[in-house]
Symmetry: C2
Subunit: 730 residues, 2 copies
Amino acid sequence: MDLLFWFIPLASFIALVTARGFFRQMMNYPMGSEKMQAIASSIRQGAMAYLRQQYKVVGFIFLLLAILLSYLCYGLNLQNRCLPFAFLSAGFFSSLAGFLGMRTATQASARTAFAASQSLNDALRIAFRSGAVMGLVVVGLGLLDYSLWFFLLHCFLDANSQQQKLLAVTSTMLTFGIGTSLQALFARVGGGIFTKAADVGADLVGKMEVNIPEDDPRNPAAIADNVGDNVGDVAGMGADLYESFYGSILAATALGAAAFYSYDAAIQVKATLLPALIGALGSLLSIGGIFSVRTRENADMCGLLRSLNRGIRLTAILIFALSFVLLYFLQIPNYLGLWGAIVVGLITGEVIGKSSEYYTSQAYRPTRCIAQQASTSAATGVISGIGIGMISTVIPVTAIVIGTALAFGFASQFNPKEIALGLFGISIAAVGMLSTLGITLATDAYGPIADNAGGNAEMSQLSPEVRRRTDALDALGNTTAATGKGFAIGSAALTALALMASYVEGIRVHLIQSGHHLLSCGHHLVPTAQATLSDFMQLYDVQLMNPHVLLGLFVGSMMAFLFCGLTINAVGRAAASIVNEVRRQFREIAGILEGKSPPDYASCVTISTRAAQKEMIIPSLSAVLVPIIMGYVFGVPGVLGLLSGALSTGFVLAIFMANSGGAWDNAKKYIEEGAYGGKGSPAHKSAIIGDTIGDPFKDTSGPSLNILIKLMSMIAIVSVGLSIGRVCLK
Amino acid sequence: MDLLFWFIPLASFIALVTARGFFRQMMNYPMGSEKMQAIASSIRQGAMAYLRQQYKVVGFIFLLLAILLSYLCYGLNLQNRCLPFAFLSAGFFSSLAGFLGMRTATQASARTAFAASQSLNDALRIAFRSGAVMGLVVVGLGLLDYSLWFFLLHCFLDANSQQQKLLAVTSTMLTFGIGTSLQALFARVGGGIFTKAADVGADLVGKMEVNIPEDDPRNPAAIADNVGDNVGDVAGMGADLYESFYGSILAATALGAAAFYSYDAAIQVKATLLPALIGALGSLLSIGGIFSVRTRENADMCGLLRSLNRGIRLTAILIFALSFVLLYFLQIPNYLGLWGAIVVGLITGEVIGKSSEYYTSQAYRPTRCIAQQASTSAATGVISGIGIGMISTVIPVTAIVIGTALAFGFASQFNPKEIALGLFGISIAAVGMLSTLGITLATDAYGPIADNAGGNAEMSQLSPEVRRRTDALDALGNTTAATGKGFAIGSAALTALALMASYVEGIRVHLIQSGHHLLSCGHHLVPTAQATLSDFMQLYDVQLMNPHVLLGLFVGSMMAFLFCGLTINAVGRAAASIVNEVRRQFREIAGILEGKSPPDYASCVTISTRAAQKEMIIPSLSAVLVPIIMGYVFGVPGVLGLLSGALSTGFVLAIFMANSGGAWDNAKKYIEEGAYGGKGSPAHKSAIIGDTIGDPFKDTSGPSLNILIKLMSMIAIVSVGLSIGRVCLK
């Protein structure tokens, strides 16, 4: 085992220990009054109850699938027999990351509220460091899982040569991603349905009908709403970004081993470890960035944002510099090109994030334009949000197009024959984009903590000054959340491209295993082991005039819409049940609105939990089944068509939904700050309708799409055997 | 010239003469009271003023482009020098179809209102036969333009052989489609913005704020709203379907000449004429179908629908039978397979139409479900409409996927090597789908006539019974319009596939013209004249792992969203100006609401006209420029990626938008019929918000998408020279 390797578990260890330190530090902070503790405790109980139920359902599905996989892999070689265990371990680590993040968040919210009653700086530090626990747990566990399996497989796998061994190890590990993706999809979809059903339900009756503010303790859905922030925006997002981080490293690792297969063994191992090393380096530098975040007491929004941005920028600059040093000392061929790919990834992520900020922040024209249209009527406000969301796809798509072309070009030294190296470059760009995850996720995860702290302050009737401080933190969280979503979807696009290449590599492995050592590509024969990606494309006729490819494209585009439609409808249905329940309680329990008798919070939590569990099954199942069926019916061209259709449509659709949703949310906030009549004006009522429509857009369907496209690719890779049989081979 | 050919101008002549007969018949019908005539006259004037303005702008753009084309084609061979003239003539015929249809519609509405005061049967006959004028004018002019240019080019072109001549004639004619597509895009986008801005503006203030019914003469936007029905739903739709009909025939003709190039000259000419012959046959049979539509006096909605459906079904069955006879006597090889493709087209169109009906008619669960969710709140109603619209894409995509696979399979006799024959089959399926256009368009175009008749009845205060009758006709029109949109988008998908193939054929022609008689495909050389589509794909490396293809896909998907975003925003902005104008009039002109002083109708018409003209330029321009830039930068792989991305995403997006919009509209109607509290209830107000949001979805952006994807393909075909230069050739 190369000495370099040990840097990865070491970074994982440091990240996890630091996270533990932050957690302890937060736990030592006082929790406030008894009322605050009681509220926090009921939110924690609701969230844990949800997670228990969720993990029960998901655990059952995972066990079923693991048994199925064991059955399918029985009698195969060792690396395939690992799949069921690795599948379970991937799911386990992913849910552990979500669980730990949520445990921290539920403990932190009351403490943040209490800290806000002391000083803004205290509140920021508590909330942000608690968010950092999540960030560091995600990268730490991701690197831990990686190290564990890499070490195990490397020790126990037999192969003819070091090169073949690495190929086998990495292609096996790639399939483990299926566990992470599936778990992430369940967490995102289930959590997303829960949180938005509760949020929409609480708002519709609370704000629109009985005119009580957000998080008012008289609202029966108030606790469910706060639970939702934790299970959706913390646990769901944690699993989602765990998947992005881990998945991008796995894909890049597999492509690295394949691209440098014909090189010297020492070089191949360096290229193979490179993605995880970048991730490890990024985690360590993120810790530094996190420590650098602090703010002056009398800081305003801008000061806060500057403070956070300073931390992130510091991390990015250090990665920029130190990744060059790393590559220089590794002495991989064309290390400058690979460094270029990392930089392209960092910049592309930044551009996508900034574009999200521009289109969703009330500081800029688009969101203000939505607010203005909302002042005409609810319908024009919604129309304008949809229009602007659609237009907002232009910059991210352009950024991804240019970024991909550059990453491909740099890594392949602009030689179009070097497709494998170019694709490795694309996957390295994805890793580069996510290398700052430790700190960006911290700025992302602290948003719901601040949101919950505000809820706690409201429900325990702290002074308005406290609420003002938590609101400032929360508003900031909205902007950083939009940026975080940009990273998630941007890296998903790059990783999905890499996974498509891995699928083709999977075909090679499968063909060699089934004895096809020669391929008939066009008019000549090629040894399978040396066939290029283009050869495989020609073998299976994966070109755009092949009707199977085009049909795959159609189905892929449709899958993105179908998936969104199913999840949006799920939120709509669940929200309607919450609305009816809240109305029922106002009607039947006397004295709620006067604050004389407490509402039944638990019933709303139960309704959301049940709805989320029930509604997450069908969308997730369709993501698993469609690639398998497509492969069986239309073969390799159908599968690649499907994946590219889902990728291109899903990417654009995800950005549209995230940005429309974010813009409506902030257009509402802009009006609440006093524009167009302020709170309670007709414009405000219109904006609330837009915000409510945007809720499932930005927090359920949109963010699930990036998992969907990767999960479908993973499923295609695992079930590659089903798709390759339908062509004549030598 | 083959004797067969003359059947095409003959059918065109019969269709146009019949249309003239229907027009005369309608004009002889009395027009009602003076007030009715005055209202009809001001709508007619508004509509004509809009069309004059529109044609001025479009004419200017067309002249500019024609000069540009002349310059580009100067010094080229004869067929290319025709392009500027053919471009103008195509635009001319397309606008003529729109103009004649609108002239008929504006004359027919008052007469239909008067007829409705006599009997339902009279009203149906007047409205439907006036709609039939449009249907017959569209197919008649389409066939006329086709015959004219086919005849001219056939007479004046020189070629080495009959086969080469047909190839040159048809590939030249294909590029004429660019005029039709561009004109259709302007008509759809401009008309769509006008009609929806006026509609949304009128509803928002009228229904939501001052509580006056639709088409109330006190509403300053009432006339603009009715003008909009004519310029958007009649003239816009006419140009749109003219483009579908003419474009599908041109594409199939070009592919037929190419696919049968190596056959006997007599067979090739039959295959080449086949698409137009099917279109001609369909027109004649449509006339029969139109004559068969009549209803009993005491008929209800179901009776009316049954009567229309009987006419359409009769036409379809006759086409089914007689196209077999036609093919049998033509004795083209594999005539059974080609007949299969026609039948597949007919059935696929029917399935897509029925699916639209299911998802948008209040007789079925989805729309009722939206109405139920609207009764909870506006936001849940909108969420549910979006969700259901997204899910509604599954059946059409599945139908297109199966239909394409079958049409390809039948025509190529399931031989995957016969890509050219298979693609011809796909294009024939598109022609088959549109062969019933004469009558389906009649059922489509009579909707706005009935709508306007209702408006006239309301404004001239006829008895409620009259309005009840026109409402019945109008409601029916909504359902048939949804079906018509299904046909337009379904045939667009098939035609766009065929156009992509034509683009590749264009590469061949261009390569031969520039002296590349041998292509180096992979490891062997192929004569350019005999290269298959697969050879070209290999030459340009158009496979899914080529980053240029993938980047093209991303940009294509983005284009569909960008285009929708731009047009939706245009409607939103224009509607907001109308709202402000209407509010201003209510505020400043005393006595409007009491009916004492008349509002200033003309100002709303002017605002809509200006907005439409201004806002249609940028979306249309982007559709023209992006394929050219893409070809220049990323070459053939980029262009084909772009076209497939725009096609797959655009198709799904168009269906989503059309169905969401239709479903919201009918959910509102369902509530108006008494469900969930009926008119004026909170559910009704919520449903109106949904309906308003859906207006630009279903009548502006959605239907423009099918033109967008074809126009981009046409532009790619015309500018093929820019994209092919970037590869090494022998």
